[in-house]
Subunit: 417 residues, 2 copies
């Protein structure tokens, strides 16, 4: 989730010449399992092979083939966009939930309320991606028929990156919004405990010739994954990302954020308008969970862990708008492309870093993935291998992952413990 | 605009006993014009009298009575909510635009595209409030008929506080969103010039027994008014609110922000995720200006000054949702009130400051205004008096303003120069 410019811009610059060098270096430097784990070298795999491998794991815990294929596609899409925290890294957690009987992998969503442009969908505790696909497709239909569609879903589960669902609308030349609530990690302004998720907002808008505006952001300052990465690397985090267990004191210690503290809402502390991010976070919670009739809202949403013992009951919200109902066909796309170009051509404050618009870094990553394969962090590759081995389906793994040194292992995902 | 907790909470605590004391102090201490100007004492006036005085000024520059009454009501509503930067303080600017022939005060908006749940409205360069009322009423109708309404407006002008329009939906037990683009003041992440307005997002949702969620926030860290206040008081601003003319360097000098620099998007600099606020700011620009067909978008929107020589061509966007189309009647209101109570009852990090939800401070201010009259800063009162005098309609002013010392004068509004 989010809009990781620093990482993504660095990646975009380096990838062109870097990939060949990196592949070479990998062959040269990987000598032992422990080298492998420490080196942080990436593995590049074919997208469809990776999807099949993830789907095999999901099928091994009772997911029907079509639903497993959809979930795998959503997870791999995140890796392609340079958002590995929401990619195949999550397969272990999904499988853990399925094994624990927390999600019904066979459930089909059904409409619980319907009007010409709005609907409420009961996810029946099915896979989040299955519920989201059903909800967004219904929303697209309604937008095409009346000008705008608005669909909420309740009784659902983790649906992957929000942008994946906005993109379904984009492919139909519609404006697409996707929102979801998640388990508590955000500490509201003035509070001293977590009481909201990272509650993302995604908004995709179609431009001309394949260009588009692609906003996909957590309403917290950063997603949990960024804190976890700093923690693993033993780095401090900048002031403003998180608070300690007092709730009102900024901390640079990732550990204090992860244990007892939490993420700040977008804006950070109260002085720098964190109350606005908190307001947006509540807005997402209301649209997704309150308006759809979820039984668990805000601080009462169970933690996203396999030992929670109860369905997580997430809610989603989708909005689609058909621009041709407001302007002559093609005028919106043309005007949007003009606006995006204007912004990209603004004079930069630092000549080495040009001005971007939301989606630029992720689109560059997607282009690289299409050319060179999906880039997987070694740890994530090893995690996927261990998962596949546990289900006796490691023969489905791409050769690049199967061929990693035997003794290399990755740590368990913290939420599956 | 915004969510000024510190100010508002302080005000809420003090107002109960403070007003009587303050009125007494005013009588005791005000001795000369210069005392008056420096004292910062507030004037309390009856709401309907204030509305009539503002309407008189607007009528003096050619506004028909019904339209003048509406604009006056919107401005006074901002003062009642404790947002004086968007209140009668703006009357001088509006009158200046009307006198300069930049707005057509007699124009009636018309529908330029229509479908069952979406529409585009041509504001015909009329008063922003007139366009916004037309757009939001149309949006409400569509939501009641199809479940959701989506209306954009182009060729419009400044429409006051966004929350005023969301509140029209709230009164009908609907969820109401209001957005507008404005003149450039926000410096995008990595850019070194202003290229977007404060572009607010308002979202109001109805609870039970008059309770509600009322988010109304600029997508910049703070609105321009907060910087102007610090500048007048000779105070530094906190890091993260604004940048100097490099675009990428935070400054604590309000002057550097106002001259050559600009406001940061919500989140502040890039390190603290200012790119997210920039993304939200662009999203608002797209919904309001690109999707409605405004001719001027983003950095090309003219400055909001009377010497701009051209219509400002603002765009707005309204979304209404009827919760009864998604849940049985009353269920949403009940669930929302439960969620708001849960959040307000979270344990606070600092025992002296309880956790609030968006709208709590403004609602407290409104209650005070209803009881004690609208609180007007002395400078703003003097500004209104000077304006009324210039139109020979000072007899319409509330006695409390007419009776201020003769020689007291207020500085001209910076944008009318």
């Amino acid at each position: 989730m989010g809009f990781p410019w620093q990482t993504a811009a660095a990646a975009a610059v380096g990838v062109g010449i870097g990939i060949c060098l990196e592949k070479l270096r990998r062959v040269q430097t990987v000598r032992s399992s422990s080298d492998v784990v420490k080196s942080g070298v990436d593995v590049f795999v074919k997208k469809d092979q990776l999807e099949e491998a993830v789907a095999s794991c999901l099928k091994a815990v009772g997911t029907p083939p079509d639903k497993a294929a959809l979930v795998a596609k959503v997870l791999v899409a995140a890796d392609c966009r340079g958002i590995p925290s929401h990619g195949v890294n999550r397969a272990e957690m999904y499988c853990g939930e399925l094994k624990a009987g927390l999600i019904d992998p066979t459930a089909n969503p059904k409409i619980s309320a319907d009007s010409p442009s709005a609907a409420n969908v009961d996810g029946c505790n099915g896979l989040g991606a299955v519920v989201a696909e059903f909800g967004m497709k219904l929303c697209i239909q309604k937008a095409k028929s009346t000008g705008v569609g608005f669909v909420v879903c309740h009784n659902s589960n983790h649906f992957g990156i929000a942008g994946y669902w906005s993109e379904l609308a984009l492919k139909e030349n519609l404006i697409g919004f996707a929102f979801t609530n998640t388990s508590p990690f955000m500490v509201p302004t003035r509070a001293c405990q977590r009481a909201g998720g990272t509650n993302p907002i995604a908004c995709y808008c179609p431009g001309e010739n394949g260009d588009s505006f692609q906003l996909d952001m957590a309403t917290t300052t950063v997603p949990v994954g960024k804190i976890e990465v700093c923690h693993r690397k033993g780095q401090q985090i900048p002031h403003g990302w998180g608070v300690d267990n007092t709730g009102v004191r900024s901390t640079t210690s990732p550990e204090k954020v992860l244990v007892g503290g939490g993420l700040t809402p977008l804006g950070g502390l109260e002085e720098t308008a964190g109350y606005k991010g908190y307001g947006l976070n509540m807005m997402v919670e209301i649209l997704c969970a309150v308006l759809s009739g979820c039984h668990k809202v805000g601080p009462d949403v169970p933690p996203w862990r396999v030992d929670r013992g109860t369905p997580v009951d997430y809610g989603h919200c989708f909005i689609c708008i058909d621009p041709t109902k407001l302007l002559p066909t093609g005028d919106f796309q043309k005007a949007l492309s003009g606006y995006l170009s204007t912004m990209r051509q603004l004079p930069p404050g630092d000549a080495t870093q040009s001005v971007l618009v939301p989606g630029d870094p992720e689109r560059a990553e997607e282009g690289d993935a299409a050319k060179h394969g999906v880039r997987l962090n070694l740890q994530i590759s090893l995690g996927l291998r261990a998962l596949a081995q546990s289900f006796n389906c490691s023969q489905m793994l791409p050769q690049e992952i199967q061929g990693l040194p035997e003794r290399a292992t990755a740590p368990k995902h913290p939420h599956t413990v």
